[in-house]
């Protein structure tokens, strides 16, 4: 078990290292670093100072090492726009994004899992077919457009829910959270549903596909042949096998939710990382872009690691092999 964790940690380090190289090559070699790095308004002396500061007069490998050194110290440089450390800006906005993504994931699971189960267990019912058709729609609806339509219906026409921002927040452990105040919760509702729509369809389809893969298995038939009640066959024999792929997918999708929150945050003016990165790309605020990308890489690596561990706990075959 310990060796397999160490092996996974080393793989994770390898991924992070590989991504630093890709990001470095992308930003410093493909793009023109002088153009990107230096504020166009800067004068000649300022240019020279920045080039020296970032070591752009150094050979490439040296630049990469400097880049790595900065990473390790959490120093991505100051944002051109805000004039503050880029990492700080990102971290400041992380809670808002996390709050949105977690809520959306919760919504996707609450709706997707039971509907997918139903459609998988009774594939020939008309209601199941309707559910599956609905999921194609949920798959095809562009998230940003649905966001606009939600605003149009619930905010403009009905006037029920607010259109932008987080609303009033409450502080817990030094971090501001929207869901702790009633008004904040109202602000959270539309963006969370908007973000959840695609994932709900995805979880629904995966659950259904999983059920249909497990149901014809011999062990399900054998469980019935033992005279087990149908509820137990489904709840224990089918669901336990289904959980393995579903948990894996849900874990992976959480990362993707954070990435996709870029869109939802832009529409609902939700002050998270996603909104920041779009603004930064538009304004060519390189330090913030790099900080965001590296933050996401780290997040995904950590997430993958957690999924691996969960998988090991859920599947006895993997668990015991690792022990041996």
């Amino acid at each position: 078990m310990v060796t397999s964790i160490i092996r996974r940690l080393m793989q994770a380090m390898f991924v992070i290292l590989a991504m630093t190289i890709i990001v470095f090559i992308g930003v410093s070699v493909i793009g023109n670093p002088v153009d990107i790095l230096i504020n166009p308004d800067a004068n000649q002396a300022e240019r020279a100072r920045v080039i020296a500061h970032y070591g752009l007069d150094q050979p490439l490998w040296m630049q990469y090492l400097l880049f790595l050194k900065g990473l390790l110290q959490g120093d991505f440089g100051n944002s051109f726009v805000y004039g503050r450390p880029a990492l700080g800006l990102i971290l400041e906005r992380l809670p808002a994004t996390l709050e949105l993504a977690v809520t959306a994931l919760g919504i996707a699971i609450i709706f997707g899992l039971p509907l997918g189960l139903y459609a998988g267990l009774y594939p020939n019912r008309i209601s199941s077919k309707l559910i599956m058709s609905g999921s194609i729609l949920g798959f095809s609806l562009p998230t940003f457009w649905v966001g606009l339509m939600l605003i149009m219906v619930f905010s403009v026409e009905l006037g029920w829910l607010p259109t932008n921002g987080r609303g009033p927040t409450a502080e817990v452990m030094g971090i501001q959270w929207s869901f702790l105040t009633g008004e904040g919760l109202r602000h959270l509702l539309l963006p969370a549903f908007n973000l959840a729509l695609f994932k709900t369809s995805l979880i629904m389809r995966l659950t259904r596909a999983g059920i249909q893969e497990v149901l014809p298995q011999d062990y399900v038939k054998f469980a019935r042949a033992k005279g087990l009640r149908e509820q137990r066959v489904i709840a224990v024999h089918v669901l336990k096998n289904l959980m393995i792929p579903v948990v894996t997918i849900i874990g992976l999708e959480f990362g993707s939710l954070i990435a996709f929150s870029v869109v939802t945050e832009s529409i609902f003016a939700w002050p998270g990382m996603g909104k920041l990165i779009i603004d930064s790309i538009n304004l060519l605020d390189r330090p913030v872009i790099v900080a965001y990308l590296m933050m996401m890489v780290l997040l995904f690596v950590v997430l993958n690691f957690i999924i691996d561990v969960c998988y090991t706990i859920l599947d006895p075959r993997v668990r015991l092999d690792a022990k041996a």
Partner: protein, 325 residues
Amino acid sequence: MTPLLQVSNLVTEFGGGKGRPGLKAVNDVSFSVERGRVLGLVGESGSGKSVTGFSIMRLLEHPGRIASGQVIFDGTDIARLSDEEMRRLRGKRIAMVFQDPMMTLNPVLTIATQMVEAVRAHDDVSKEVARQRSRDALGLVGIPSPEERLSAYPHQFSGGMRQRVAIAIALLHKPDLIIADEPTTALDVTIQSQIISEFQKLAEQSNTAVVWITHDLAVVSRLADDIAVMYAGRLVETGPVSKVLSTPRHPYTAGLIGSVPSQNRRGERLRQIGGMTPAINRLPEGCSFRTRCDLATDGCRAMPALLAEADRSFRCIHPVTREIA
């Protein structure tokens, strides 16, 4: 004495319904098994023998269904039972062992979980009692250190051991009837032999009836009292094993016996039945076997009836008369 299991004119269809005919995977099949006897249900894959087994258990998967005929178990027609009544029969009075031991046990549940739930599905006992009974059942089928093995997962067992576990589960409630669907096909020959002995003991000692579904005539000749040969969904020959195997009447049975190596003299070419089993949706008119049969005549274009001859029967208008062994 009325037999424990009496299957009469069973027809199992896939698809169809609402007036349209489905594909008949089992067509007009009748046989019976008495307590303490072993019936060998023989046929190639696709002959409908497994579907017959699942029809008796009422475990057909959609769109399969029993279209007509009766399955009388101990005096009651199982087709008339409610789902709950049928559930109470399954595992309690009729148990089943499946073909592939690698697939029958749930990979993510311990053996204990899978056995205890089987006990408690029918008997209202505590988990401890259920566990005790599971341990005893494992011991009975010859699994060493059963207490330890209870908390193991299926993948920690070899194929033979898994099949023993499956048999132990089938024996938990001392069923009256066991349907064994090719339980030794996936196993090594030595283990096959051990498992067959277990079943022989079981039938003799606890007076259990066994329907042994297989394609292996050698197994049937060792184990079974009676034999029923299926071809393309229909019974083609039934009778006591000794008689049918020594003097087969149906050309298909004769062909099957001829293709078993031990039946051929050394150096002689192994005989084969020419052609392939026809697909169930493309059966020839009349006798299903006629396109592969050397003896076929124009008379075979009409479906022959099952002809009785003393304690046996066959479905052929020009039966084989030659002795084989």
